[in-house]
Each structure stands twice: as C-alpha cells, then as structure tokens.
C-alpha cells in the first residue's frame, strides 16, 4: 500500500480523499493555489505545497508544478479527484513516467473513453445499447422515411457538421418527414456549407441513470447499483438519488450485469461510472466517466462501502475482495449539491462565509471543506457542500432531507439551499416523476 498520496485537487473532494487516506494510515500531501492556503484540506494534510496563483490553469491544472510537488515530498501516488486533471490521460502518463502511481484507470482507457465517438463504438461493439441511428449521412427523403420506420417515431434529424441546434428537426410521424428532411438539409447547407444530415431516435423525456462500477486489474468487476441524476440545470447535476425511483429490482440487476459485462470485456480497471439515458424501459449508453464522481456518497450510503478507499486499494494493485453477492442495497439515499449561488438567478456568489452550522443526527452526512469565517474564492466552481441523507425507504430519506436542509446555516453568501427546499416539497419529485428536463421547467415555473 502507498505511504504517501498527493491529492491533486481542492475543496470537498480533496478533503474526501484526505479522509480516506487518513483512515488507511496513508500520509497526505495537499497542493493548493495561493488563495486556497487556508483551505480545510490544506490545514489537515500532513504536508502542503503551494503550486500556483489563483487561476486553475496555473495551479490545479499545472502539471509540472504538481509533479514537482509530488517528487519533492516523496509521494508515491497521485489522486486527481474529479474535474481538473482527473480525465487527462497525458497527466496520468506523466505521473507514471515519474515512477508514481496514478489513482485511476490506465491512461489508454482514459483516452478511449474520452473520445466520445470511440467510446460509442466500443460500447456498441461490446453489446451496450446506444441511441439507434443512421450513423452515416442520409441522402434522400426515401432513405429518411425508411430510417424513420426502422427507428420508430419520434426521430431527430441532425446536421453531421452540426451544433447549436442548427439543422436539427424532431419528426413525430412519417407524414412530417419529407418537409422536415428538406428543411434540415437546407439549414445544414446554409449554416455549415454541408447538407449531410443523419437520423437518430429522439428521446423526449429521458432520465439520466448511471451505474457505479469497481474493477480490479485481474478481471474481477462488480457494480454498486445505479444513481438517478436526472435533476440537472444547464447539464449540471443538482440533486442525485439512489435507487432510481424509475427502476425495479429486475431492471437494476440486468442493467448492472450488462455494465459489469462491458467493463470486463473492455478490460477496464479501477472505479468508473457508465452513464445512460433511460426512456420507456430502454437504456442508451452515453459515456463512461473514468474517475470518481461527485455523487459517489449516495452509493456509499446504501452499500456501506467506502468507494475512495476501494479506489486506492485497486490502484495499489490489490484485488477486489468484494463479490457481487456481498453487495446489499439498503434503503435510499439522496445528495443535494449546495452551491454558492443565488437560488433564483444562479449567479455565483463567492465571498466570506459567516456562520457555518451543518445538520447532524442519524443518517446525515455533510461533505464540505468550508468552515465559519473561510472564503469561497471566485476562481473555482461554486460547490460549497454536499448534503447526503439516507433512510430505510425513499420517503424516510425525503423526510430526513427536509429536516436536515432546515438545520443548515450558511451565512455571508447565498446558496442553493432554498431551491433544494422547494424541490423536496414538489409533488413531482416526491412521486419520483421527473426527467432530465424537469428541473429547468420547475425553475421556470416557480419564477412565473
């Protein structure tokens, strides 16, 4: 096992990793920018090295300074957390080239999964369902109608050179195809100088469902169930829960099995998450995240596992000593991401925190690097705390979440706590009736 791990990140995830290391008897090195000198993980780590100015590009993304800090302090592994360099295969290569261990999957796996077209091909070739479509350009209306039949309506026409919605048309039935196809081609031609369009199945109300996996270097892999991360705003997850209110045990099991199968075939090892869109009983592969995820604590809450600990063990080359049949899913868990933002306008609100009082009691977990009197710098993302609650039932977790949100005191900055308080009172959310568009509709309605 490692003697000393350098944590190449900041904020709550840096603290999360520090805690896992401390509990494994591993020494920690914090790296930090100039403005993070008083951050909690810096204060708690065994050693700390300043690696650059406030701007992330010169500090948390500064590969050379991070490698130097690791060499200077004698760290034998680097944990990249999430964001920043966590999916940077070149950095992973550098870490290994300097004789240290990268806490994550092999760099080539990061590369493969980072290329979205390549990842889709891999997924498809190893039997994961992807959003069905023509893949190649559709040249004639007749072909388009045949694709419409084959895929089943609604379908969406997209410009091959596309982006920004130009050349995109949703087609609900065969009768609309001729006009839609012609318009899409014209739009594509005028927008991109290229009238190639392709057609794929249109998902109007999908959910975002992802599966957490653990895999060792020896071909052993397990899944830890799914997380429903459909509550998003601008593609940013706001609240996650497990299990998904949309799945039953049978679906969960077959989805999990499918993902473990994929991971083993593709030769992936370490922790990872396979993300799907889910609509009408069907899953469609989106991408694989080759790193720890923000929302991992809800999985920990219902499985009792320490995912970061397992990740460190796997990266040290230890074998996965948990079998799939050992994993139990007990109850339900929800995570609220509490951001330093105006809860109505979502304008970031950095500043100095005044009072800081976190909720306590049974089955309530707070992951945060903040404390009374600390600064929330304007240079980084606005996440200030993750509030994770669990319960023996989803309803129990919801009731607990309400009381915990009501106990949270953060002064000096605006936070999204009021938004979460509204969400947990919403009948749709209470009923589990939501998709990836639901939250934006909810936010717009409450403004009106």
């Amino acid at each position: 096992m490692f003697e000393k791990v350098l944590i190449a990140n900041r904020g709550e995830v840096a603290l999360r990793i520090h805690r896992a290391c401390r509990e494994m008897g591993i020494k920690t090195v914090a790296v930090h920018s100039v403005v993070d000198v008083n951050a909690m993980h810096v204060k708690l780590a065994d050693e700390a090295v300043c690696i650059g100015p406030a701007g992330a590009k010169e500090s948390y993304l500064n590969k050379a300074n991070i490698i130097s800090a690791a060499l200077m302090t004698g760290a034998d592994a680097i944990h990249p957390g999430y964001g920043f360099l966590s999916e940077n295969a070149d950095f992973a290569d550098m870490v290994e080239a300097h004789g240290m261990v990268w806490i994550g999957p092999k760099p080539e796996m990061i590369r493969k999964m980072g290329d979205k077209v390549e990842a889709r091909k891999l997924a498809k070739s190893f039997g994961l369902p992807v959003i069905p479509g023509s893949d190649e350009a559709v040249k004639t209306v007749l072909d388009a109608i045949q694709w419409g039949e084959a895929l089943g309506y609604p379908v969406i026409i997209k410009a091959a050179a596309g982006g920004g919605g130009k050349g995109m048309r949703v087609v609900n039935q065969a009768e609309e195809m001729e006009m839609a196809f012609t318009l899409a081609q014209n739009e594509a031609r005028s927008a991109f100088g290229n009238d190639d369009v392709y057609i794929e199945k249109y998902l109007a109300h999908p959910r975002h469902i992802e599966v957490q996996v653990l895999a060792d270097n020896y071909g052993h892999a397990i899944h830890l169930g799914e997380r429903d991360c459909s509550l998003q705003r601008n593609h940013q997850k706001i609240l996650e829960e497990t299990p998904s209110p949309a799945l039953n045990a049978e679906q969960r099991q077959s989805l999990g099995k499918m993902v473990v199968d994929f991971v083993q075939k593709v030769g992936y090892s370490n922790v990872g998450t396979v993300e799907f869109l889910y609509e009408n009983g069907q899953f469609y592969f989106m991408e694989m995240n080759t790193r720890l995820q923000v929302e991992h604590p809800i999985t920990e809450a219902i499985t009792g596992l320490d995912i970061v600990r397992e990740q460190i063990r796997l990266s040290a080359g230890q074998n996965l000593d948990i079998r799939q049949e050992d994993i139990q899913f007990n109850g339900a868990a929800i995570e609220c991401r509490i951001n330093a933002e105006n809860p109505d306008t979502f304008v970031p609100c950095p500043g100095k925190i005044g009072q800081w009082h976190v909720p306590g009691g049974l089955a309530v977990r707070v992951d945060s690097g903040m404390y009374a009197g600390c600064d929330v710098p304007s240079n980084y993302d606005s996440l200030v705390a993750k509030l994770i609650v669990s319960g023996r039932t989803r309803n129990g977790a919801l009731m607990r979440l309400r009381r915990a949100l009501g106990e949270f005191v953060i002064e000096g900055i605006s936070t999204t706590i009021p938004l979460h308080q509204e969400i947990v009172q919403s009948p749709d959310f209470i009923d589990g009736q939501y998709d990836i568009h639901w939250l934006e509709g909810f936010i717009n309605n409450r403004k009106g």
């Binding site: 204060k43 700390a48 300043c50 800090a69 302090t73 009374a372 009197g373």
Partner: protein, 141 residues
C-alpha cells in the same frame, strides 16, 4: 511622578478590578486621570486542528527591500553546477535580468532572474532545497 498620584492610580486600578468596570475617569485638584481595562474584542478566528509549520514570508519593513520568489515548484540550485561558484552571494550588486539561481522542475532548469537592479541582502533558502510556488528566495535592496 508623584508617589501620591501613583497611589491614586493603583487605587483606581484596584477599584476597576473590584467593581468590574472597564473605565474610570478621575479629576480633582488639577489632577486628571483615566484608567481603563478594555477586554480584547475576541473576534473569533477559526483555528482548524492540525497546524503545520509553513514557510512564512519574512516581513519586509522598508519599501526599498523586495523579495525574489520562486515562480514554480521545484528544487533550487544556487550555482550552475556543483563545482561552480554560486550565481550570487550576499552583498552582490545585481542587474535586472541577471540570473540569481535555477529552479529544477521535471528535469529542466529554470533560471530565476532579478527583475531590477539591486543588492542581494540575504539568501533565504539553501541550494538543493525544495521550494513551493512563490516561496521567497532572496531579499534584495
């Protein structure tokens, strides 16, 4: 000072203590005194558990003095190679652009140069020591 006044002050101090007051003004026969005992206004500062020795930037009192800090994380070298003399020593006059030391990071040696003309007042790190971003290396005047 009059022994008498000294005694009055002592008496007032004693009274301050006894009565729990913060302040007493006293005036009599052309003598004016004020004794006070303001409690430090304990602005609560968070102290988080583990305290580690951190490299403290030396306080520079005079405006003429300035610090030369490391622009990167790495190992500092005071001479171009182990057998060569150091780039500079205390008391040297240096010109803007002159190399003061090298910081090695990832097998490359990065020269640290003087930003302006001046005199090396002190050298704050030893050759071979690891330095962090913006760690002070030289004091110049």
């Amino acid at each position: 000072m009059d022994k008498q006044i000294e005694d009055i002050i002592k008496d007032l101090a004693h009274l301050l203590q006894e009565t729990g007051l913060n302040e007493i003004d006293y005036e009599k026969d052309g003598v004016r005194l004020r004794v006070a005992n303001r409690v430090a206004e304990s602005v609560p500062t968070t102290v988080v558990p583990v305290a580690k020795p951190k490299v403290e930037a030396p306080q520079v009192e005079e405006t003429q003095k300035s610090l030369v800090c490391s622009p990167i994380v790495g190992i500092v070298y005071m001479s171009p190679n182990p057998n060569a003399p150091t780039f500079v020593k205390v008391g040297d006059k240096v010109k803007a652009g002159q190399t003061l030391c090298m910081v090695e990071a990832m097998k490359t040696f990065n020269p640290v140069v003087a930003e302006k003309d001046g005199v090396i007042k002190s050298i704050l790190v030893e050759s071979g020591a690891p330095v962090e971003y913006q760690q002070p290396l030289f004091e110049m005047e």
